[in-house]
């Protein structure tokens, strides 16, 4: 469907912002693949454990709960990523004219970025799950956040094509590092210094979000009650 929409669009205009048809299709295909790293359900799983009181058992177990959850999430992401790679393969074999190949170095940086995307996303999930210490049911809250975060990540449309005020907002928030930034690297749209700057900001966000998560969970665990457990 995406191909047909954009084919129609590019029939009327030669370029859309800085995008040509292959660059746009590559962006959207890669967005679907990276989405596999963003789709894990840690927030809901952990929030359910907090809500049901099952989290109490995690508190007394002799391992780090966060690491254990992260391992679960990473394993499922890996499987999901492999499945989504099939989509890429279909394009590569049957519709190669719609893909724009990355340079070798950019592909290498993109692969290095994958664990960072996963970590960033896991931290966002932990923050979302931490809300469950104060609000019993986070489903409605998480639906909102996930919808908005996905859009502001550039899942539907690259954020440099957003209306000006939304682009400013999206560039200010950490969500762009989930999809837009890594694909811009893959699509050869960023210069060397811009890539370095982007990675540093991404690392900055990971540190900031780690601190927020730590503080939030510290306060949350103090408040946590599990009656009857």
């Amino acid at each position: 469907m995406v191909i047909f929409i954009w084919k129609n669009v590019f029939a009327q205009t030669k370029s859309f912002g800085s995008y040509t048809l292959p660059k746009m299709i590559t962006y959207l295909v890669m967005a679907q693949i990276i989405h596999a790293l963003n789709r894990h359900k840690s927030a809901r799983t952990i929030a359910e454990e907090i809500k049901s009181g099952q989290f109490s058992t995690a508190l007394i177990k002799p391992y780090n709960y966060f690491v254990w959850q992260f391992s679960w999430a990473t394993a499922s992401q890996f499987i999901e990523l492999l499945t989504m790679d099939l989509l890429f393969l279909v394009f590569l074999v049957f519709l190669p004219q719609y893909l724009s190949p990355p340079s070798g170095s950019n592909l290498f940086i993109f692969i290095l970025l994958l664990p960072l995307i996963s970590t960033l996303n896991y931290l966002l999930n932990l923050i979302l799950a931490g809300v469950a210490f104060w609000v019993t049911d986070i489903r409605l809250f998480s639906t909102f956040v996930v919808l908005a975060a996905n859009f502001l990540s550039g899942e539907m449309l690259p954020i440099d094509l957003f209306p000006a005020f939304l682009e400013k907002l999206a560039r200010f928030l950490p969500f762009q590092y989930r999809i837009f930034f890594p694909i811009s690297v893959y699509n050869n749209q960023l210069s060397g210094p811009k890539i370095v700057q982007g990675i540093l900001v991404m690392l900055g966000w990971i540190i900031t979000l780690s601190l927020i998560t730590y503080r939030l969970w510290q306060k949350g665990i103090k408040k946590y009650e599990a009656v009857g457990r």
């Binding site: 469907m1 047909f4 929409i5 049911d137 489903r139 409605l140 639906t143 909102f144 919808l147 449309l157």
Partner: protein, 269 residues
């Protein structure tokens, strides 16, 4: 005929109770319902931003103008939200109903299992989503300068009703596999994804694909046909075409349900 009328009257009475019960449930958790209902608003917002961005650089998409596509989006949302409110959430959760052994209970009730499995709960959140779509349609009506006859309007409403019924039959077809194999929910999920194809004008798709989604998996009948008909882009024979597809899918759904029920094996309780 008399028997059919009595059966329909009985089912309508039953559905009235289901509706009242679901509404009462909604009012218990009203804040939760309201907030969950706002999620489709965020989603609609993203679609509108997407279309606005596209139309900032192009004048038409598949020969449709911006407000025509907004109208199409509104109609698509009507079918989506009504499907969600009335039957799709029930049918998509049938695997859980079977898992918990509740389908056995449904089978023992003195009413058609297909009716109960399809309409056992009315999802009021879908109604909130419906309000969003009606607002979208009203706004697009104000921006579109076109006139239509009374018969066009009737045809439009009729085509929406046909679209909704076809959506019901498509869901029943997918769910029938759940009856036979239990873990076939992903088929329903795929169906939801395919629904998205109907979000855009049929003209953007190549002819073969267009006809595939008008006949084999007729998702283009949901919103495209009613909207194109109202806008005068297609004519009255398309209503007959939609009725034929409806009839075929109605038969196929009945057949598939009967087959699924025959294959069904209780796995719980």
């Amino acid at each position: 005929m008399k028997l059919w009328a009595a059966k329909t009257k009985h089912r309508l009475k039953l559905y009235r109770y289901i509706l009242i019960l679901s509404l009462k449930e909604t009012f218990i958790f009203r804040i939760n319902t309201l907030l969950v209902g706002l999620a489709p608003l965020v989603w609609l917002g993203t679609i509108i931003i997407f279309l606005t961005t596209l139309f900032a650089r192009i004048s038409t998409l598949g020969s449709w103008q911006f407000w025509e596509i907004i109208l199409l989006t509104g109609v698509h949302e009507i079918i989506f939200s009504l499907s969600w409110a009335i039957f799709s959430s029930n049918l998509r959760n049938l695997d859980r109903t079977i898992d918990r052994g509740e389908f056995d209970l449904i089978l023992t009730k003195p009413v058609s299992p297909r009716f109960l499995a399809t309409f056992q709960h009315f999802n009021t959140i879908g109604l909130i989503s419906l309000v969003n779509s009606l607002v979208l349609i009203t706004v697009s009506f104000f921006h579109l300068s076109f006139s239509f006859t009374f018969f066009r309007l009737i045809g439009f409403i009729l085509l929406i009703a046909i679209g909704l019924l076809i959506s019901l039959h498509l869901h029943t077809l997918a769910t029938s596999l759940t009856l036979a194999f239990i873990r076939a929910k992903s088929l329903g999920d795929i169906l939801w994804e395919i629904y998205e194809i109907g979000h855009y004008p049929a003209e953007i798709y190549p002819t073969k694909i267009r006809y595939f989604f008008l006949t084999a998996i007729p998702v283009l009948l949901f919103a495209y046909l009613p909207t194109a008909f109202l806008l005068g882009k297609i004519n009255y024979p398309w209503i007959i075409f939609a009725l034929i597809i409806l009839l075929l899918f109605s038969k196929a759904a009945s057949f598939a349900w009967a087959w699924g029920l025959k294959k069904y094996q209780s796995i719980s309780s």
